[in-house]
Symmetry: C2
Subunit: 316 residues, 2 copies
């Protein structure tokens, strides 16, 4: 009998689910708009519904459990979501306990960036590497770190808040309250803000033809040779290169995996990132690989599922 895990990605916009087998194949993917403003009860209902949809073709005793990838801060050991800024009413919610009672199945919860790091490590761009850093660059910048073959948790599971290292002293204000964070300069939101600022000066650019000014508009314009877009891409690659250079010195990974929306511009960004590293990192770090995530939006639910498969075994 084949066993499966239901992987759930609890995003602020989309709630996504799939059936994962022990070899990492993704089956029966589905998603719906997260009821992010309706409180935790409604989202819990949605999770139960998606679980039943993706698993209807198999019998219940083939399901080993549910793995949930969720934004933090959360306590994965206690199965508790502490707060989730994008989900109204999610404050100190013992999600694991509630779902285990409803579904009568083991449930595991993990921070989305850590889950994605595990997913890419086992079945994606990070296969075969003992040391990797997964970076998601989207609205913010988050990270999941695997060093010496183990997920780096630190005290309270709070290690790997890579978006909030200061890279520019007394720099721009960040959403966290601090100034000069990597996230405040390198995130997708920061890139969009920079593009809008340039356009506000009256500079002519293809970017302004797009109905929505965002990373996708900038990358698309850059591909078509738009000068301003190319400049914004270069600036973004420098900022990403700087942050990655710091991560190389602090964690010494063999590979850096880029995920999140901004990684859709990977091919445009990578020359500038590599140039920055060659010019600024210590010599032993010059040849560290930088690759895009293979599973994209699925890295998180895949990683959360691996945690279920590995339950009672060593994690990695």
């Amino acid at each position: 009998m084949l066993n499966f895990v239901v992987g759930i990605d609890l995003g602020g916009t989309l709630l996504r689910a799939a059936l994962i087998d022990s070899e990492g194949y993704i089956h029966n993917k589905t998603s719906l708009a997260t009821a992010s403003k309706k409180g935790s009860q409604e989202i819990i209902n949605q999770i139960c519904k998606l679980t039943s949809i993706v698993s209807k073709s198999i019998s219940k005793d083939q399901i080993l459990g549910i793995g949930i990838s969720s934004p933090g801060p959360l306590n994965s050991k206690k199965g508790l979501i502490l707060t989730a800024p994008t989900l109204v009413g999610f404050k100190n919610i013992p999600l694991v306990k509630i779902l285990e009672e409803r579904l009568k199945l083991p449930v595991f919860l993990e921070n989305d960036a850590i889950a994605a790091a595990i997913g890419e490590h086992r079945f994606g761009a990070g296969q075969g590497f003992k040391n990797l850093v997964y970076i998601t660059v989207s609205t913010g910048i988050g990270g999941g770190v695997i060093i010496d073959g183990k997920v780096l948790y630190g005290f309270m599971g709070m290690a790997g808040h890579i978006g909030h290292m200061t890279i520019i002293r007394n720099g721009d204000k960040c959403s966290c309250g601090n100034q000069g964070c990597w996230e405040a300069y390198g995130s997708g939101a920061a890139l969009t803000k920079r593009a809008k600022k340039y356009l506000d000066t009256g500079i002519k650019s293809m970017i302004s033809n797009y109905s929505k000014i965002d990373g996708a508009a900038v990358f698309d314009s850059a591909k078509k040779g738009d000068k301003l877009a190319l400049q914004i891409v270069f600036e973004e690659s420098e900022i990403l290169g700087l942050g990655i250079t710091n991560l190389l010195h602090l964690y010494s990974p063999e590979i850096i995996i880029l995920g999140g929306g901004v990684s859709n511009g990977f091919d445009l960004l990578i020359p500038g990132i590599n140039y920055y590293i060659k010019n600024h990192a210590m010599l032993p770090f010059h040849n560290v690989k930088i690759k895009p995530s293979i599973h994209k939006d699925n890295s998180g639910l895949l990683g959360a599922s691996i945690i279920v498969f590995n339950n009672n075994k060593s994690l990695l």
Copy 2:
């Protein structure tokens, strides 16, 4: 029969040795000026001589081995010193193999900041904590990181190069070749340079009465209420606070341990460091302890000895 380890601290200025027992007590301490310009052969002779001096009161079969704390870059697994900028002729020296042949004892080699982290973790300020970062602030800034109860090595053992994270984009040149590194702003050398720059402007300060302008002169003057010295101390505490804030977000330690020459000014620096953290770190990191190293200059040789005692057992 009591067993001992000979702990060696291979410094660019002083070569220090002691006999360490399994409870971490330090016996028969001795030191001599490192023959840093005479090549590796002479230093190896010195290590053998110090080993025989500190162990003359015990029989040879009471010595479990030799633990050496050395500046890097080095390969602790292979027992190889790759280069040692402060020691002439130390390039690709298989120190462990050479000493094992000479002394007929097991020899272990470890990076000095990692050794110090292990020493403080087992028998010093870090006792009882699973997550700690040891920071040495002297000529440069180095680090040893223990997370989730294990030394963080990373690929090639290169994790924890904390002195070379960029904290100021396009900032001052660092000895590593990069710009804006923490070390370029926060090290003892940087503090001395800043003091000299201030004095060059003709500003009146007690600091200029000292025969040598250095960290000790600045701290001593600050203790006596000298205004310029107090300002330099405040600036130093801000820079240290900034770097430590980054380390909190990246590693999530429970305790930060400060060692190295600059930590002699710990009592003067700590209010500014704590103030910076409270103003800039995320809330969960505000109460992380920051303590001075307990074993000071002995943390490294103590840690290297612990590695010998733990040989064939899990390291920590």
